[in-house]
């Protein structure tokens, strides 16, 4: 069990995600926000991002919106490196190598 911790030193440790019962997510350094630019050719190589605790390889130049194409997005929200990305920016914000993404939605809760 994780003890409650508040010190700055403790905060740099990986912390359990509030969105799952288990650990995972968090811990990676922040990156500057890159907004849309002319898409680069895929041959420049892929990037690795962590989406809800799972690493995924994606083409460079992938917009956040791409993560949501298969989902009923009503009520969904996305955080990138612990910063909320407003829905209106999903099409513009491009994923960066090393990004940690949380995609959440309301579910049963008390």
């Amino acid at each position: 069990m994780m003890a409650p911790h508040t010190s700055e030193a403790a905060r740099s440790d990986p912390t359990p995600s509030p969105f799952t019962g288990e650990g995972g997510g968090g811990g990676l350094p922040s990156h500057d926000t890159h907004t849309a630019q002319p898409s680069q050719p895929l041959s420049t190589g892929g990037i690795t991002v962590t989406v809800n605790g799972e690493e995924r390889r994606l083409p460079r130049g992938t917009a956040i919106a791409t993560l949501m194409t298969d989902v009923d997005t009503l009520g969904s929200a996305i955080a990138r490196n612990r910063e909320v990305v407003p829905r209106s920016h999903w099409d513009e914000v491009l994923l960066t190598d090393g990004d940690t993404i949380e995609v959440v939605r309301p579910t049963q809760g008390g």
Partner: protein
């Protein structure tokens, strides 16, 4: 129209005004742990609730396709109160609240910052820190807290829109364990007091309202009842009964009996044996 007192509203005029909402129902219901989604929806309806809690959890962006609870609830007209359940630090709670505001388009947040998984009791230091941050960011904060009048007062001073002391630990069904503290919180508060957690059955709800609370938030007591829909209806009736009893003003308690029937005009009686 009641003629009892100008200060006690008639049942039809007795609203719970909270965070810009005017609620005719004082029951707040959680949406977790029901045997099925249909039973959840039926229980919500039977309870009469207008404000329901939801958690925020990861969506599987690949699998998709799962039922969208948010859609089901908003289609039925419920106001939503997202929670920060599962957060152990102010930092996580603040991020969860920000995600909830983005996801649901509401600045209401049920703020839960838990100390450990065994007791699920609030971590008051982190709670106060998170409440202060969230109020500063414009949230309408509903903090889940201990039944501690001092903490309740601090939360009010921070600017929370309500204070939500526990009756007993989450999911315990032990009822209102410290009615004196709840009463003290009610007497000193200028914001709505909502008992959150600990209610096990209808009498617990009635007791809470008789103590003067403005609302009761419950989940497991309904969801895990043998018949959740029937229990939801019982909770609704108990809330009305308890609230009405509170407004009516109960008789004072006495240590000795006081005859209801007049003592005068009785037949000649023998004196007591001793």
């Amino acid at each position: 129209m009641t003629t009892d007192s100008p200060h006690t509203p008639a049942p039809t005029e007795d609203f719970l005004a909270i965070a810009g909402l005017q609620l005719t129902s004082r029951v707040l219901l959680g949406t977790a742990r029901y045997p099925s989604t249909q039973l959840l929806l039926d229980a919500l309806e039977a309870s009469g609730t207008q404000l329901v809690t939801v958690a925020l959890r990861r969506v599987d962006p690949v699998a998709g396709g799962t039922e969208n609870l948010y859609r089901l609830l908003v289609e039925r007209g419920y106001h939503l109160l997202p929670n920060t359940a599962g957060c152990f630090t102010a930092r996580d709670a603040v991020l969860t609240a920000e995600l909830a505001r983005e996801a649901l388009g509401t600045s209401r947040i049920k703020l839960e910052v838990i100390a450990d998984e065994e007791t699920l009791l609030p971590d008051v230091e982190e709670l106060l820190r998170a409440a202060e941050t969230l109020v500063g960011k414009g949230f309408q904060v509903f903090p889940y807290t201990n039944d501690d009048p001092v903490t309740a007062r601090k939360l009010e001073e921070i600017g929370c829109v309500a204070v939500m002391p526990l009756g007993a630990p989450i999911g315990s069904g032990l009822g209102i364990r410290n009615p004196h503290n709840i009463e003290l919180i009610v007497q000193r508060a200028h914001i709505p007091v909502i008992v959150d957690a600990g209610v096990g059955t209808a009498s617990d709800v009635a007791v809470a309202f008789e103590l003067g609370v403005d609302g009761v938030l419950m989940n497991t007591a309904v969801a895990q009842a043998r018949q959740p829909v029937r229990m939801a209806a019982a909770m609704r009736a108990a809330a009305v009964a308890g609230r009405e009893a509170y407004l009516a003003g109960r008789m004072p308690k006495r240590f000795y009996a006081e005859a209801s029937s007049p003592m005068g005009g009785r037949i000649a009686a023998e004196s007591a044996a001793w």
